[in-house]
């Protein structure tokens, strides 16, 4: 019950809301000529130069302390920035993981030397990270990972394989969950997180083409990779706890309701025209809006909990499961609206955007934890497990 009534309507503080105007002006210029079908890639679209420019504007690592190059601001500041990036369909993929979770993870668990080394380039949009969690035989059952790092004279020797690693081909670093002691039967015990420099000998990255034709995720192979001692982030054997905390950041953000928003806006533009407007389309616009509005308020309420240093794991799971449901409903319902008409006159750009979103939508409820994993977490929060 606590997770249910703990989310109360909250407000974004004025000083954080004040970031919206400058970032919107910037994005209006930067995204003016980018077609909707490209903007629809949302945080799967990436552009290194764009990330550097955001770094120059001071909009990366905004929640990290200023002594490491960050903005020293609250999670609400990041909420406002990210909400604008996503609604404009800005290509934020390069820095996305570093900004969202790797930076905060290093800040929380890293040594002073690690913080000084990694955080400033993250804030400049120069150091990009990916997440090494899934393996060929470890998907939802993450505790069964087999990649193993063995203590060596000067550090660690790593062998194994990761898969479905988003954007690994364009990142310098991976934070990987690997086994450092015991074996698979020990489950959550004996796992640690390592920061892996992907340029090291023995690392091979192979992109995988998805059904939309994009290659945003990869296989990553480790063959006798020699890592220094300080590749370990946090405590040896505490990898599971660290990953769990990291996932609360990963699941709670506005990206869990805006993945199809570029398509929604593009379709709204069409039904605002005389030939596109029908009573059925107005009703559908309202139905989608009625889903998004409470979700936005819930996402803000979760952010409010983050500002108080809480880790709202169950609330984040609620928002993500509901949010991805709406994100997937949007392309399905818009397709039905457009193709149930007597006159089928939708513009090509809208149709291409629709087709792209339709093809990537299955991933919404896979990445960051499947529906079944999330519902299991909620059930645990309800005391059923």
């Amino acid at each position: 019950m606590s997770a249910l009534d703990s989310l109360s309507i909250s407000c974004i503080p004025a000083e954080d809301e004040a970031l919206r105007l400058p970032v919107r002006e910037f994005l209006t210029r930067a995204m003016r000529d980018v077609p909707a079908r490209i903007r629809a890639k949302s945080w799967a679209g990436y552009d290194t130069q764009f990330s550097r420019e955001l770094g120059r504007q001071g909009w990366l690592g905004i929640t990290l302390p200023t002594e490491y190059g960050g903005g020293g601001r609250s999670p609400f500041a990041r909420y406002v920035l990210v909400e604008e990036f996503l609604n404009f369909g800005a290509p934020v993929g390069s820095h996305w993981i570093a900004d969202r979770q790797s930076g905060p993870l290093i800040l929380k668990y890293g040594t002073e030397a690690q913080k000084k080394f990694y955080l400033p380039p993250i804030c400049r949009g120069e150091a990009f990270f990916c997440i090494g969690m899934s393996e060929p035989n470890s998907g939802s059952d993450l505790a069964s990972v087999k990649s193993r790092a063995v203590k060596s004279e000067h550090g660690w020797t790593l062998n194994g394989q990761k898969i479905w690693t988003t954007n690994a081909q364009a990142c310098q670093f991976m934070i990987a969950l690997v086994r450092t002691s015991g074996d698979v039967a020990d489950r959550q015990k004996g796992l640690s997180q390592l920061i892996i420099d992907l340029s090291l000998p023995g690392v091979a990255v192979r992109p995988i083409t998805d059904m939309s034709g994009d290659s945003h995720f990869c296989e990553v192979f480790f063959d006798e990779v020699q890592l220094a001692d300080d590749a370990l982030i946090g405590e040896e054997g505490k990898g599971w706890e660290q990953v769990t905390a990291e996932l609360a950041f990963e699941r709670s953000g506005p990206e869990r309701l805006y993945s199809s928003i570029v398509l929604f806006d593009q379709w709204l533009d069409f039904i605002r025209t005389e030939s596109g407007r029908t009573p059925e389309s107005l009703r559908l616009a309202g139905k989608i809006f009625a889903q998004l509005a409470p979700l936005r308020a819930m996402s803000i309420a979760v952010t409010e909990k983050l500002t108080r240093g809480e880790s709202p794991v169950v609330e984040a799971a609620l928002v993500k499961d509901l949010g991805t449901g709406v994100e997937q409903m949007i392309p399905a319902a818009i397709a039905d609206d457009l193709f149930s008409r007597a006159v089928q006159n939708a513009p090509l750009e809208l149709l291409q955007t629709l087709n792209f979103v339709t093809q990537v939508a299955p991933s919404y409820s896979l990445r960051g934890g499947t529906r079944e994993i999330l519902r299991g977490m909620i059930a645990r929060g309800l005391g059923l497990r």
């Binding site: 019950m1 139905k287 509005a293 308020a297 309420a301 309800l382």
Partner: protein
């Protein structure tokens, strides 16, 4: 202040508005004794200013009380009275003792006042009837009452002379006010249905263990909790207003999302309860019937989708985020 107030209301409802009392009133017993507890506690004047003898709460502060009216299936128009008394106070009219509900007058050339489906009309003392340019505050006992869809609702008709009932200078949109109220009551009833279903899943054993240990049931309960938390947030949005008058677009979000949730949650909770939940004797039905009732009251989800969709298309260009911000940001 609002927490203290809501806790006092909760305690009164726990003590006096038991499921047995709800059943008795539904069966036709007088609601007067239950109303007297509420009136004597001063709860019905919460929105009236402290100078005017009330508690001086704002509409957002009142939300927990409206939610409680739903959570306890209160068979009386307390929520309606709370708003009606605030409107009367604003119009400079001293509210009479007794409960008030809202009505919408159909035009009648014969001079009668006819209101279809007055919510809680059978248990109210007064009806604040909206006409074209003003309202009439009419005594319920002088109306000819006939059946409506739900046992506590009524279609009411006053003879031509009743036009001389007290005129009140207020012009609220009845449907918006009702939708605000019933969205909050839906949120309350949803929480009750969820809690009862969770409890049942823990108590009921099949195949040698509580059914709540089965993954299929756990996932259904997770889905219920998702709907309930979204509906509760939506209902809170519906009560965000700078005045006593609910904001139509925020109410549209509240009523459409809570109505959607009502349908899903009623269905899932009955599914988990099996046959026992379907019986008159078991209390679940007191709440699931209200989920369906309040989904209808004040406009179902599609009525309010149309309001939201028309506003989004007619009054905004560019990104939907701007209307999301306008309706969900609070000061």
């Amino acid at each position: 202040m609002d927490d203290l107030f809501a806790n006092a209301v909760r305690q009164l409802l726990v003590d006096q508005c038991t499921t047995q009392v709800v059943r008795q009133i539904e069966a036709g017993q007088s609601a007067e004794p239950l109303w007297q507890f509420i009136e004597n506690a001063g709860f019905a004047d919460a929105l009236v200013s402290e100078d005017g003898g009330g508690a001086g709460l704002t509409l957002p502060e009142l939300y927990p009380v409206l939610e409680l009216c739903g959570a306890y299936a209160l068979p009386l128009p307390l929520a309606e009275t709370l708003l009606a008394r605030a409107f009367l106070a604003k119009a400079g009219v001293v509210a009479p003792r007794g409960s008030i509900t809202f009505g919408l007058a159909a035009t009648d050339p014969g001079g009668r006042v006819v209101c279809d489906t007055v919510r809680n009309g059978r248990v109210a003392d007064w009806v604040l009837v909206s006409q074209a340019s003003h309202c009439l505050l009419l005594p319920a006992k002088e109306a000819r009452i006939s059946e409506a869809g739900f046992c506590l609702d009524a279609t009411m008709e006053w003879p031509a002379g009743a036009r001389e009932g007290q005129q009140v200078d207020c012009t609220h949109d009845v449907r918006t006010v009702q939708a605000c109220i019933y969205a909050a009551q839906l949120a309350g009833a949803l929480i009750t249905v969820f809690s009862r279903t969770l409890q049942y899943a823990n108590d009921r054993n099949q195949f040698g263990r509580p059914i709540g240990k089965f993954q299929a049931i756990q996932h259904q309960l997770s889905v219920i909790s998702e709907h309930v938390s979204a509906a509760r947030m939506a209902a809170q949005i519906g009560c965000q207003s700078v005045s006593d008058m609910p904001d139509r677009l925020r109410v549209a979000i509240a009523k459409s999302r809570t109505s959607e949730a009502a349908l899903e949650v009623a269905s899932l909770s009955h599914s988990i309860h099996g046959a026992i939940g379907f019986t008159a004797e078991f209390d679940l039905q007191l709440f699931t019937r209200r989920l369906h009732l309040w989904r209808q009251a004040g406009g179902s989800e599609s009525y309010w989708y149309d309001v939201l969709g028309a506003n989004l298309v007619n009054h905004y260009s560019g990104c939907a985020l701007d209307m999301l911000r306008a309706t969900t940001d609070i000061d």
